[in-house]
């Protein structure tokens, strides 16, 4: 009937169920955004599946802090971690040494861990073999003689207790202007000669592929990074057979075996799931169900997930932001607080917001990734919609406002029949800004395991595979264009015709 009733039609797809989380799994494993972590988590997933558990692998989460928070919140039950990461990063500065001390510490959080599975994926400092040979650099100490080299380390390494700060001190390295870089990009930069030195993982398949030299840690700076599985203590009751199976993996995968598995994913192009299944078949005689990959089906799924995140967050944002904008426009004393708060939300860095949201959301939802992403997108959508609603309503000429009052119309009729239609173009522009922004922002969902186009983008960066990146990046760009186009159409439907006419008779 009225113009505003048409808006829900446009976002009606928000009500389409996501079709992603069909039934809630009996357990979840997490993994970090690099191949080895994904393979180890796939091993957990296959073993759990083999024990008849309904398992979900929330893959490629953006960093240690994210996984740790998710594990404490109970949104994942288990993930592969490294002893060094726990002693040097999670429990940095608490002076924890050795497996036993670590176990005691974990127990305080209701967590347990397996014994080391064999891999010692410590940090190494690497550079191109050819350059290292030319400059005669064999050890980290040798770097002292070459202060002009460009050093870039992963963001995580820059912040770790055993990271750049401690390393530079231990080796008295003179290099200035050392900064952080996304780890997956560091290889590319190293190969292209943009940077000369970076941190690597010892079992990294790319060391061979890119012909890198591992500089010798001649002063024994780096602690040991033994891979273990960290899990919530109650998993032992819920899935005793799985926990036993994991403990049987202790000392079963050495550095060479791990490097080979990494290489089969990154150099041969097999899926992590396949490589993990092959390992279990060979080492344990377990046949696993490997998820078939299909580009078309994957893109369809990313699209559905992406649309769903955008539609749900946007619908919620409109339901909240338009009324907030109306209140701000009508009650002057609320205007600054409302606009101020939504403005501040906008300044919170997106990745920080995603991490901050894990704990509070875990009280409402068992799901990890999707709800955090939706809430973050919702929060970011508020500002453009609130601000445009406010500006649109405040921009109505006082003559028109008075005419409506003088006619004897009650306030809500004036709002519905006069003020909102007059502000509709402005409000719609705000919704459009929020939507286009959301389509882009939603790719960050890949960082937190929410799916969508971000999943292939982050996976592609990790695997250094442009093809995979494009599977996410191209549809995301196309979607943004389609959304833009849909709003042109929406403007014809929603903005009253009288406002679209050129003025003058």
């Amino acid at each position: 009937m009225t113009w505003l009733c048409r808006i829900p039609l446009l976002v009606g797809l928000a009500l389409v169920p996501p079709g992603l989380a069909d039934e809630s799994p009996s357990m979840r494993t997490g993994s970090k955004a690099f191949t080895e972590s994904l393979i180890l988590a796939e091993i957990v997933a296959h073993l759990a599946d083999n024990e008849g558990l309904e398992v979900e692998h929330v893959n490629g989460l953006g960093g240690t802090r994210l996984l740790w928070e998710a594990l404490l919140a109970g949104q994942i039950d288990i993930y592969p971690e490294y002893t060094g990461t726990m002693t040097e990063e999670i429990f940095a500065g608490q002076g924890i040494h050795g497996i036993a001390a670590l176990r005691t510490k974990l127990a305080e959080y209701g967590l347990k861990m397996t014994d080391p599975i064999g891999v010692n994926n410590t940090y190494v400092i690497g550079m191109k073999e050819e350059l290292a040979a030319r400059l005669s650099i064999r050890t980290i100490s040798d770097l002292r003689e070459h202060p002009d080299l460009t050093l870039r380390f992963s963001n995580e390494f820059m912040k770790r207790a055993d990271g750049w700060g401690a390393l530079a001190q231990r080796y008295q390295l003179p290099h200035r202007d050392v900064r952080g870089l996304e780890h997956a990009l560091a290889y590319e930069a190293l190969d292209k000669g943009v940077i000369q030195v970076t941190d690597l993982y010892a079992t990294d398949a790319k060391i061979r592929k890119l012909q890198l030299r591992r500089l010798q840690d001649n002063r024994n700076h780096f602690p040991e990074y033994h891979a273990v599985f960290v899990y919530r203590a109650e998993l032992e009751q819920r899935a005793p057979a799985l926990v036993a199976a994991l403990h049987s993996l202790e000392a079963a995968i050495d550095d060479t075996a791990m490097t080979n598995m990494n290489a089969r994913v990154e150099l041969v192009g097999l899926s992590e799931s396949q490589v993990a299944a092959d390992f279990l078949a060979e080492a344990r005689g377990i046949q696993s169900r490997v998820r078939e990959q299909s580009v078309v089906r994957d893109i369809a799924r990313y699209t559905l997930e992406h649309l769903h995140m955008v539609a749900v967050s946007l619908t919620a944002a409109m339901l909240i932001a338009i009324p907030l904008g109306i209140v701000a426009a009508r009650k002057a004393r609320f205007a600054q607080p409302i606009l101020g708060v939504v403005g501040i939300i906008q300044t919170v860095p997106s990745i920080a917001l995603l991490v901050l949201l894990i704990r509070p959301i875990s009280y409402f939802s068992d799901d990890l990734g999707y709800p955090q992403a939706v809430v973050a997108l919702f929060l970011y959508s508020l500002l453009p919609i609130v601000r445009n609603t406010y500006t649109g309503l405040r921009g109505i000429s006082p003559h028109l406002h008075e005419s409506a009052v003088a006619l004897g119309l009650p306030p809500w009729v004036r709002l519905w029949r006069i003020e909102l239609p007059l502000a509709s173009r402005m409000i719609l522009a705000g919704v459009k800004t929020a939507t286009v922004m959301n389509v882009g922002f939603a790719t960050l969902g890949g960082f937190i395991g929410a799916g969508g186009y971000g999943e292939p983008i982050f996976a592609g960066i990790r695997l250094n595979d442009y093809g995979v990146i494009l599977q996410g990046a191209v549809p995301a760009a196309v979607l943004a264009l389609i959304v833009q186009g849909l709003f042109e159409v929406a403007e014809r439907v929603i903005v009253p015709k009288g406002l679209r006419l050129k003025s003058g008779a």
Partner: protein, 250 residues
């Protein structure tokens, strides 16, 4: 019809209306006139409660105008402003029928009433489905008048209704508007700054200056028995303008 009792309104430093008493006779046209800033528009807007007085009260048909009853009473007062105040997103028809629809009139009754008003205002029937942006200035004022008359109000409040029109259209519309006023026999309160227009319409002229009423009476009184020197000054100033333009024409 209206009984204003020692009504005052101030905006920050300026006193727009100072303790005015005024009785508006029913079925007569009362014109508020005076130089810019004399408070004539403010006084009109106090009458329909668009602004609240700081002191004093407005009686309308024996009832005191209050925020609680303002909405009901306004439906008995048609209000037309200089540029029409039409809502650009609604057609002429929707503008005119807005309140009637809100009050639940059925389509037949609305059409019948609009037909009467079209005839009264000489508005082209096909113009009702145009948007304000598609109408001429004069047509917009006719729609605005139809909107004001839709509920058959007891009084029409007109704030320089012809002020934004060019002179030719204006003089045509003046004649038509007076015919309409006479045909309706309604109480009209009209604001203008043009003495000729005041004389043309007004049964009673209210001359204002700096928030006060200087003189109330028929047009002839202003010319023949001015209450104070300002009245003559004001009359002569307007005549002077006329005189200058007459000289220029010769």
């Amino acid at each position: 019809m209206f009984d204003l009792r020692s009504i005052s309104k101030r905006y920050d430093a300026t006193e727009a209306v100072r303790a005015i008493d005024l009785v508006v006779e029913p079925e007569k046209t009362t014109v508020l006139i005076g130089p810019s800033g004399c408070g004539k528009s403010t006084l009109l807007r106090l009458m329909n409660g668009l602004i609240r007085p700081d002191a004093g009260s407005v009686q309308f048909e024996g009832e005191t105008l209050l925020p609680e009853n303002a909405m009901q009473l306004r439906r008995k007062m048609g209000y037309v402003i200089q540029d029409g105040g039409l809502f650009p997103h609604l057609t002429g028809r929707d503008n005119a029928a807005l309140v009637a629809r809100h009050l639940g009139w059925d389509a037949k009754r609305i059409t019948a009433r609009l037909d009467e008003l079209i005839e009264l205002t000489h508005f082209p029937a096909d113009g009702l489905d145009r948007y304000p942006a598609q109408l001429s200035g004069g047509q917009r004022q006719r729609v605005s008048l139809m909107r004001a008359l839709m509920l058959d109000p007891d009084v029409l409040l007109m704030d320089e209704p012809l002020g934004a029109l060019d002179p030719m259209i204006r003089s045509n519309l003046q004649a038509e508007l007076r015919t309409i006023y006479r045909a309706l026999g309604k109480t009209v309160v009209m604001v203008t700054h043009d003495l000729g227009e005041a004389g043309f319409f007004g049964d009673t002229i209210v001359l204002m200056r700096e928030g006060r009423i200087v003189q109330v009476g028929p047009f002839g009184d202003l010319l023949n028995s001015p209450a104070e020197a300002f009245v003559t000054e004001f009359v002569n100033a307007q005549r002077g303008l006329l005189g200058v333009s007459e000289e220029a024409a010769q």
